[in-house]
């Protein structure tokens, strides 16, 4: 069964149509990169799939493991296994990162009929997952994203993903604003999670990330549609030629 089927997706934000009939098919185990110039609708796709209330689907359908994803609330999508790493992670005053993660993880486990983790079990899991991403204790004890550097915020997103173990992970420009060391850490975190059961949609403006997270497919988004698809070599071609030739083609 396919993981995600996006058919003829039209999405409007602030009264303006951004996606104009997008099709995308993702199987378990695959990594799909979505590239495209600024304003092409890359982040709109990520946000629409995660259920952001400011992005209205006006036409089309999205099936997640054969079920109507668009009929689900954002939190239900998350508990069912769809994860989005935010382009701009939100700072949440007064809510401790670790407490939030425990609540999110247990919300998901409860939803799936699994026993909730107690404090000890949670701590053990955190220890295990925090190493690879070099998440310090202080980041867990601080309020979510509050006072985090840009790199810390992105690492924290991938750390959340590692704990929540989604079936489908959507990374919305996770590489933007990262220096090369942070980029490598984030990529290592993602690569460690690649598995035959899990799929990734990696939205990025730059080819650089794809040196570290090697995609199975690369799609070029322009004018609200996917205008070109190919293997990982397409990303290199885009890097060499820029986006100009896409529109011209």
């Amino acid at each position: 069964m396919s993981m995600l089927d996006v058919k003829n997706l039209h999405v409007t934000a602030e009264g303006k149509e951004i996606l104009k009939g997008l099709d995308l098919h993702v199987n378990p185990g695959e990594v799909h990169a979505i590239m495209g110039p600024n304003g092409s609708g890359k982040s709109t796709l990520a946000r629409a799939l995660s259920g952001h209330p400011q992005y209205a689907v006006t036409e089309g359908e999205v099936l997640f493991e054969g079920r109507d994803l668009l009929a689900m609330d954002p939190d239900e999508r998350a508990r069912e296994g769809v994860f989005m790493a935010f382009q701009y992670p939100v700072e949440i005053a007064g809510v401790i990162n670790a407490n939030f993660l425990k609540a999110a993880l247990n919300a998901k486990r409860k939803h799936l009929g699994q026993p909730e983790f107690d404090a000890m079990e949670f701590l053990q899991l955190v220890r295990e997952k925090s190493k690879l991403l070099e998440i310090e204790d202080s980041m867990l004890k601080r309020a979510v994203n509050e006072g985090f550097s840009g790199g810390e915020k992105k690492r924290n997103e991938i750390f959340h993903m590692a704990l929540l173990e989604p079936k489908l992970a959507i990374l919305d420009e996770t590489d933007s604003g990262l220096d090369i060391d942070a980029l490598k850490l984030v990529a290592a975190g993602v690569n460690a999670m690649r598995s035959p059961d899990r799929a990734f949609i990696v939205v990025t403006h730059y080819q650089r990330l794809l040196n570290y997270i090697v995609p199975d497919f690369v799609h070029v988004l322009s004018g609200g549609r996917i205008v070109k698809s190919g293997g990982k070599e397409l990303a290199l071609e885009l890097e060499a030629k820029g986006y100009g030739w896409i529109d011209a083609a």
Partner: protein
């Protein structure tokens, strides 16, 4: 909304039934309080300090002076930390010896009845009593002074360190539906190098209608540290008007943590005078306003001497058609160089019907100072709600988490763990009810 003050005949005949007796100076003080109240009357909304808080209706209520009530012990149940190991219980303004527990304190430390102190330690009480609660322009302080009879007295000799939190519990109530008014009075004198945590609770049965008019005075000696907690859990039908006056000395530390959970019409004045070099003052507050309630917090931090720091955080959560007022005055006197003052005021509006009037008021007469203030009023951040939902929390869970986070900064300042836990539990229980109503209206 403007109403004309009706200065004559407020409270019916209650003013004629003022308490008598005690030392001569006290009789004089009461008489002066009564005269001043008669002259000032109840403030109206034309008074700048009461612009948004209309209490004129109080004057037409035929209050009776509070008497002893039955079942005082039972009335303590269900309120935060009323089972504290050290507690002074004052019922309708009278110290209750049987309910109070004041044993096992360090030598020389006194926690007890103000009336007894007026009798047995008149010289100490006279030196401090009424020195801070100036009633020249404060109607309700004048009224309280006119009715001084009993209350709580805490005395810490030099060097005394009290580990157990001292809980002063003011119980208000009326038998048989009478409308009573009580005038609780607290005097705390902390000697040099002394240290204590003092909690004042104001409690009343849920539906009883009464008027609490409290005045507290706290003197913090050189290098002494006093943490003060005020837990206001009055009946939701009660008027609660109170002023807390603190005076700090050289290198002393004073913190005030004010929690407003109850009362129909609430006015809290906090006035801290930083009167010694190197002093430090924290004024924090958290209030919950819901239904048709009104919560007004007026704070004044008076930097009178150099090298003092003050930190102020007031936060409010408003629901229903409630109204809130925050007025934060910071005075930096000419002499008070190197002052470092920071004030933050935030309010979270859960409904469209709730309103707040907020005003920072900085009066700076020194030139080498650091003063910052900020106010933020708003609804819950939709981006934050979406972020939490995108990780799997329901809308309700996300909202609760954000509100808890909002309150956390003030709650975390409570250094008495059982008190903090009880407060958290009560705050969020009350919030849950308010939010259920918000959901119904959605």
């Amino acid at each position: 909304m403007t109403q004309v003050a009706e200065k004559p005949s407020v409270f019916g005949t209650a003013l004629d039934r003022r308490p008598q007796g005690g030392p001569r100076w006290l009789e004089d003080l009461r008489a002066r309080g009564a005269a001043r109240f008669a002259a000032l009357g109840i403030p109206t909304v034309r008074d700048e300090e009461w612009r948004f808080t209309n209490v004129t209706a109080l004057g037409s209520i035929d209050f009776v002076p509070a008497e002893q009530i039955s079942g005082a012990a039972e009335r303590l149940h269900g309120f935060a930390y009323t089972d504290a190991p050290v507690r002074a219980v004052i019922v309708n303004g009278r110290f209750d010896t049987t309910l109070s527990r004041t044993k096992g304190l360090p030598p020389g430390v006194q926690v007890g009845s103000l009336a007894a102190a007026l009798r047995d330690q008149a010289d100490i009480v006279q030196r401090y009593f009424g020195q801070l609660a100036d009633f020249t322009n404060r109607s309700f302080a004048a009224l309280n002074t006119a009715f001084v009879q009993d209350g709580a007295f805490v005395y810490l000799p030099d060097g005394a360190v009290v580990d157990a939190p001292i809980h002063i519990v003011y119980v208000a109530g009326a038998d048989g539906g009478l409308k009573v008014m009580a005038h609780p009075r607290t005097l705390v004198v902390a000697g040099a190098n002394s240290q204590a945590r003092i909690i004042e609770s104001y409690i009343g049965a849920p539906d009883e209608s009464y008027f609490t008019n409290a005045v507290s005075e706290i003197f913090v000696g050189d290098n002494a540290g006093i943490d003060h907690y005020k837990i206001q859990e009055e009946s939701l039908e009660a008027y609660h008007i109170a002023s807390l006056h603190a005076h700090t000395s050289r290198n002393s530390r004073f913190s005030s943590h004010s929690f407003t959970l109850g009362g129909r019409v609430v006015r809290n004045d906090v006035v801290a005078i930083l009167d010694g070099e190197g002093g430090d003052c924290t004024l924090n507050g958290l209030y919950l306003a819901d239904r048709e309630r009104l919560v007004d917090n007026h704070t004044t931090i008076d930097h009178a001497k150099p090298h003092c720091g003050s930190h102020e955080v007031y936060k409010g959560i408003l629901g229903g058609t409630s109204r809130a007022v925050f007025n934060g005055k910071i005075i930096v006197r000419q002499d008070a160089q190197k002052t470092d003052a920071k004030q933050t005021n935030r309010a979270l509006l859960l409904t469209d019907g709730a309103t707040i009037n907020t005003k920072p008021q900085l009066e700076i007469f020194a030139d080498d100072v650091k003063c910052t203030h900020g106010a933020a009023i708003g609804q819950l951040d939709e981006d934050a709600i979406f972020y939490l939902r995108a990780r799997g929390l329901t809308y309700g869970e996300a909202r609760d988490m954000l509100i808890h986070g909002f309150a956390a900064q003030v709650l975390e300042g409570v250094q008495v763990e059982p008190l903090r836990e009880a407060l958290e539990a009560e705050l969020f229980e009350q919030l849950a009810k308010d939010l259920a109503e918000v959901d119904l209206a959605r």
